[in-house]
């Protein structure tokens, strides 16, 4: 499959748009449909598409497995950190009203970071799952 010229060029053309769409879904989730979960899956799908077209090694050069494993935890910690930020600023856990003097603005800020945390974790988990399965297939083939 990696030798298919049309597929490779189309994949290269589509990649930026897929990643851009993921970012759009992530950060426009306040106003339109979408949010961290959907954006994370779309971003992971883009990388998976790249991996299918150009081979697993190329994708892992672009997004190393170590980075993915770190991001797995970073997303959850970011989410939990927003909660602790609320505590530190004198509110309840996950209380966004205290994140900014203007409470509505504080809500916006809280939701933004929380969604970012969800997006990072979901994208990392999906990608890690794919790496795991694809990597095993290669090992089984070698053995």
């Amino acid at each position: 499959m990696t030798g298919d010229l049309v597929l490779r060029i189309v994949a290269k053309l589509l990649m930026p748009f897929m990643l851009l769409f993921a970012l759009y879904v992530q950060f426009h989730g306040d106003y339109g449909p979408g949010g961290g979960f959907q954006a994370g899956v779309i971003a992971a799908t883009a990388i998976v598409f790249y991996a299918i077209t150009f081979g697993l090694a190329a994708a892992q050069r672009m997004v190393p497995e170590r980075l993915v494993e770190r991001l797995l935890a970073v997303g959850v910690l970011l989410y939990a950190g927003v909660g602790f930020a609320g505590l530190a600023l004198g509110g309840n856990y996950l209380d966004y009203f205290v994140l900014d003097p203007d409470s509505v603005h504080g809500q916006h800020r809280g939701i933004f970071w929380v969604e970012a945390g969800v997006g990072i974790t979901v994208a990392a988990v999906m990608l890690k799952l794919f790496y795991m399965f694809a990597g095993r297939g290669r090992d089984a083939g070698d053995a």
Partner: protein, 164 residues
């Protein structure tokens, strides 16, 4: 959609089953769009039709493409699923009519979310407001669940790799 489900149940070739599963997810996404649940439809299309199809194909590559013939006729499981289906259908009689505005779910906290949500959070998409703000704890739990699932897969699959 019903046709796809029947074909899925009869399919012995696992590759065909995976493809049919993707088609089913995509049809489900269109149903959800028709029900005005765009956020859920997006998730269904991306996860159900996209990522899980790829993951299932990856698993298929490892285990081979044909389902083995069942050793015994699966009559007991068939009876059990028919019984559960009958119980569920019986239970559905007690549910309020579809899109009944007086249904309990619509008179408890939903009006407050819908009326006060945009004002309190400044977020026009009520789904996001409920998900990330009113139900922030739930979503934190869900994120931890996703994280745990990922960590579990890493723990399971990596050990095998080291043994080789």
């Amino acid at each position: 959609m019903a046709a796809v489900v029947v074909a899925l149940a009869l399919q012995r070739n696992l590759f065909g089953a995976v493809v049919l599963f993707g088609i089913y997810s995509f049809l489900m996404a269109t149903v959800l769009v028709a029900l005005d649940a765009v956020d859920v439809a997006m998730t269904e299309a991306a996860v159900g039709a996209g990522v899980s199809t790829v993951l299932l194909l990856g698993a298929l590559y490892l285990v081979g493409g044909m389902e083995t013939k069942p050793l015994v006729r699966p009559l007991a499981p068939l009876a059990l699923s028919l019984a559960v289906g009958a119980v569920l259908a019986y239970g559905m009689q007690g549910l309020p009519e579809f899109s009944d505005p007086q249904a309990p779910i619509h008179v408890h906290v939903a009006p407050r979310y819908l009326n006060q949500g945009p004002k309190e959070t400044g977020v026009p998409n009520v789904v996001t407001a409920v998900l990330a703000s009113y139900r922030g704890f739930d979503t934190l739990g869900e994120t931890v669940v996703v994280f745990t699932a990922g960590a579990g897969v890493i723990a399971l699959l990596r050990r095998r790799q080291k043994r080789k």
